[in-house]
Structures are given as C-alpha cells and as structure tokens.
C-alpha cells in the first residue's frame, strides 16, 4: 500500500465571486479557495478528508472529479497526469463522485437513473443497485425514496464504470446505523479490491473507524496529513492520564502537571505530560503510587479522537488548544480584487 495511486501536486483554485459595477457588470473578484494542495494517496487506501465548514473539502472533491478547473497544479492518477479533469474525459473515467445530499426527484426510477448515467459513462449498470441495497426499489419513483435510499442511489452512481478513485462527500448523511455499517463494509471491500477512496465527512466517529489516514483542510490548505495514529503521536494528543484509586495521598507523589483532582476517600486525578504516556513512564508512576500506600485501580490514557485532532490543528474549539493551531497565517490569503 505504498504506491501513490492518486497524486495531487500544487493544486490551487480560487472561487470567482460576481461583483458587478456600473462600468463593468461582469466584474468578478477572487474569493476563498484552495492553496497549493499536495498529497499522495496509496492504492487501495481509505482517506478521510476533514476540516471545519468552508475549509474547501467539497471544492477539492469538485476539482478531483472534473467539476471545476484548477488555477494551477496537477492531478496524477495511476501515473497518468491530468492538468484539468474538467476538459479531460479520460481522467474523469477513472473517478467516481458521490456528491453531498443529492435530492432525487421525479417519476423516474433508480434503474432509469443509472441507465441514463451509464449512457454518459459508456458502462454497464450491472448489479450496482443490488450492491448498494436498492434491489427491491429498482422500479420505485425517485419521489418515494427516503433520504437514505437516495444516498444509496448516489453511491451507486459513483460506482458506475468501476472507478479507480472514489470520492464520497458526506456519504453517511441520512443513513441509518445499519446502512452506515453496510456502507463502511462496502467501502472497505472496494478498497481491498484496489479502489482508492477519499471520504469527506463531518461524522468524525464514523470516519475514524473506517479510514486509514486523514487529510485535514483548513482555510483551503492542507494542515496535516497522514495516518491517524502518527498524527496523534506527533501532536502529542495522548498526553492526559486518568488515575482512580483509594487510600493514601497521591498528589505529593506526582511530579507531572495535575489538571484535575478529586480526593474524598477514593481519589481521581487527571495528569498531563507534554511528552505523552509511554508504557515505561506509566508503569513507573503506578509503581511509585503503590509503594507509597496508594492503591490505583483504574489507569487510562485518554485517547484523542478525530475531533481532538481537528480542534488541536485548527484551534477552533477554543478549549485552550488554540496555541496548537498550525495554519500558516502568513499564507491565509484574504479576498482580493
């Protein structure tokens, strides 16, 4: 899983916002966008694309699926370089996009929708509806599909033509827990078959249990990228230890920063160590407590999740983590003429 299947190099894009004046009714100004995005996705990997609202996640997926043209940069899929997928049909043939919440309407049926798209895709529908769990609804009017069913149909459209790269924008929205589980299973199966998958989602818990790695976007830039475990380690997020016990007075025995303590017969203490909690350090502390009359019965290193990574890197949460914000502010371009 080391070969780069999807390689993005220096991808930049700015939205053009209409700003008509009397002298120039078609005048546009540059708005937010993406700045110098570069990353590699290994073949058969599942990568989470996360970031706060307006970070540029959907814009990036639109560039990768040929809905928009980048201002600069390139996209390389399986060693084939594409400058602008919007103009290069052969490139779009390799990419499948499931957009964010499509509202399927009308009297057409899922079967007809896929047939129509297969004409554009020059591919066969096959058993796609069965694959996404819509085999009993193939001839049902789109108006009668629930949100979750619509999501399944959107997924089926993304899978048309067996794309090498699958882009999923908020795929879990509207899915019930069973369908979410099924989607994760399907995604994993596709990845195991060699499809490289990029998923943008706000449901971080769902994402964390699925993805191999994450790309965190903020203000249109890649703030951090890599395997979740490595990111946590680098950000030193696994640095809080929760200790519970009885007897003795543990506070004088602890040299690290105590961020919370409650001693009332039984005791409960949260201890922070900037360098994290290695097994050795943990054993040493527990041993020290035991030797001095304290009986610890609960030891837990609090595990940071994806939302902690998001907070730590963007500083958005305001829970004392803003000092970790890694956005290069000098690069945060303001809107310009």
């Amino acid at each position: 899983m080391t070969e780069a299947h999807l390689r993005i190099e220096g991808l930049s894009f700015r939205h053009q916002i209409p700003a008509p004046t009397i002298r120039n009714p078609t005048k546009k100004r540059l708005g937010a966008g993406l700045h110098d995005i570069s990353f590699d996705l290994p073949k058969g990997s599942i990568t989470g694309l996360v970031g706060p609202n307006g970070a540029g996640k959907t814009t990036l997926l639109h560039l990768l699926s040929g809905l928009r043209s980048p201002d600069s940069g390139s996209i390389e899929i399986a060693n084939e370089r594409f400058r602008d997928l919007k103009k290069q049909d052969a490139g779009r043939n390799k990419v499948g996009l499931m957009p964010d919440t499509v509202r399927w309407q009308g009297n057409s049926t899922p079967k007809q929708v896929l047939h129509r798209l297969s004409l554009m895709n020059n591919s066969k529908v096959g058993d796609l509806l069965e694959l996404v769990g819509l085999s009993s609804r193939t001839d049902e009017a789109l108006d009668r599909l629930s949100t979750g069913m619509g999501q399944r149909l959107s997924l089926a459209t993304a899978l048309l033509g067996e794309p090498e790269i699958l882009l999923l924008d908020e795929p879990f929205t509207g899915l019930d827990p069973v369908a979410q589980k099924a989607l994760k299973k399907l995604t994993r199966e596709l990845a195991d078959r060699g499809t490289t998958i990029l998923i943008s989602s706000h449901l971080l818990n769902e994402l964390e249990s699925l993805v191999d790695r994450v790309i965190l976007l903020h203000h249109g830039q890649v703030v951090i990228e890599g395997e979740i475990r490595a990111i946590k380690r680098n950000l030193k997020l696994d640095k809080v230890l929760l200790l519970k016990g009885e007897k003795g007075d543990p506070l004088p025995l602890i040299s690290e920063k105590v961020i919370h303590s409650s001693i009332n017969g039984n005791w409960s203490i949260s201890v922070e160590n900037e360098d994290g909690w290695s097994r050795k350090r943990l054993t040493k502390l527990v041993q020290k407590l035991s030797e001095n009359g304290c009986i610890p019965y609960h030891v837990e290193v609090k595990t940071a999740d994806l939302s902690d990574i998001l907070e730590a890197t963007t500083g958005i949460d305001g829970m004392g983590l803003s000092e970790h914000a890694m956005v290069p502010l000098s690069k945060m371009e303001v809107e310009e003429e």
């Binding site: 639109h62 699926s65 040929g66 809905l67 928009r68 919007k86 049909d89 052969a90 490139g91 779009r92 043939n93 990419v95 499948g96 996009l97 957009p99 964010d100 919440t101 499509v102 509202r103 399927w104 309407q105 009308g106 009297n107 057409s108 007809q112 047939h115 129509r116 798209l117 004409l119 554009m120 895709n121 020059n122 959107s154 459209t157 993304a158 048309l160 033509g161």
Partner: protein
Amino acid sequence: MNPILALAFDDAWSKARSTRMIILLPLLTLFILGACWGLSDPDATLPSSISANTPFEVLFVASLFILLSSTLGVVLFGFDGISKDRISGVLAIQLSQPMARRSLALSMLLGTLLPVLIPTLLLSILGIILIKVQMGEWPNFADIALFLGATTLLLFWYATIQMYASSLAKDMGSSISLGIGAWLLFTMVWLLVTVLLASAFGVDATDTSNADFEEFSAKVDLLSPNGVYHLLLEMRVGDDISRTISPFWVVTSAVGWTVLPLWAYIRRFQKMGA
C-alpha cells in the same frame, strides 16, 4: 446508437410521460388541429385583415397558433432543464461522468426540443391533411417543407434560449422568471419593442399598417425568433404580404439564430460549475 442521441431520446421519452406533457398535448392538439380545421373551413368568416385562401396561407395563419402553443411547450420543458438538476445536485453527478460537456449539452438540448417538436410536427402533418379535407387541395411540397422546417428551427431556437437561460439560473424563481420572461418578450411584448424602436428612429408608429412601419418592423423582426419564423414563411406567401425584406437577410438571421445562441449555450455549459 450515438450517445448524444441515445441520451436525448431517453430524456425526451421521460418528458413525454410527464405531467407537463399531459397539460401540453391537449393544448397543442386544440391549437394546431383547431387552427388548420377552422381556418380552412370555406364557410368560416375571418377578419378582413386575415387572408387564408390557399392551403399555404392557412398554414401561415396557423403558425400564429404554433407560436403561442409549441413555444410555450418548449418553455415548459426547458425553463428548468438545467437549473432543476443543478439545485438538486444531480447535475454534479452528470458533469462528473466521462462524457464531453459539449455532447452532454447537446443531448440535454435535444432532450428538451424533441418532446415538443415531435408532437408539433405530427399534429402539423395531421393539420395539413385536415386542410386537404376542407379545401380539396394539398399545399405544394416546397410549402410543406418550408413550414415544417421553419417550425423545427423556431422550436430549436426557443429550446436553445431556454436551456441557456436555465443554465444561468441558480434557483427555481430565477429559472421561471428567465424562461417565461424570454417567451413573453418575443411572443407578447415584441410589438411594443418594435413601436418603441420605431419612435426612437423617427418612423411613424401611430399607424402600424403604414408601409414605413411595416418595412421597419420587418427589420426589427430579424432580431426576434418569432419574427424570423414569420419572415421565413412570408417568403412563400406571395403578394398578400406587403413587407419586403431581402431573403438574404432572413436566411442570414435564421442562421444567426441557429448558431449564436447554440454557441453561447455550449460555451456556458462548458464553463459551468455544478
């Protein structure tokens, strides 16, 4: 089958089974067959300004009814031809498919045109049969070809305008406004535009039947698809029409109306984001 045509027929078939078609088809039937039958009735008394003494003259007058009904049909199918898919998010899926945008744009245009064009042409042919029944003679082949060809062009122009307008619209309100607005401009308000322009250019517009105004209106009509449609038909009507404008300008304008909006629409479609 060519994917553009396959998609267009698929789209047209879907529209042919829609509620909009249930509304449109009786209208087309009443307007086109009713006009052909009524205008060709030897016992019918028409206003003195309307001359329908030959089969082609009947078709010429019946074209007014096509202008009202069939063009409205194109508006019905085309005003949200792109905007609906854009608002619902389906357009993003379509544009991400590996089909050239030009081809997709053409297939969507044809998908809007065909569900109106096919019934209009079939009803026009039935109308011609009704004229034969009433008047005992057929329009000659060139007349029929010109009538059907000009009608096809008219609907094509409207379909292109509607799809272009729909590609501009970002919500359903602006979609309806642009679609109906374009139709109202050319179908209902054009005479007012002509009068205003005539006044601005010093042409007497107090009497719309005077020769100067008719000459002027023929020129202004080159700027309207309805006007060009009628000018095309007028080329075969003969002496009953007092407007004289060179066929060269009429044909040039027809070519312009065919090429320019199509170019603008495809260009817009190629640039469009989802």
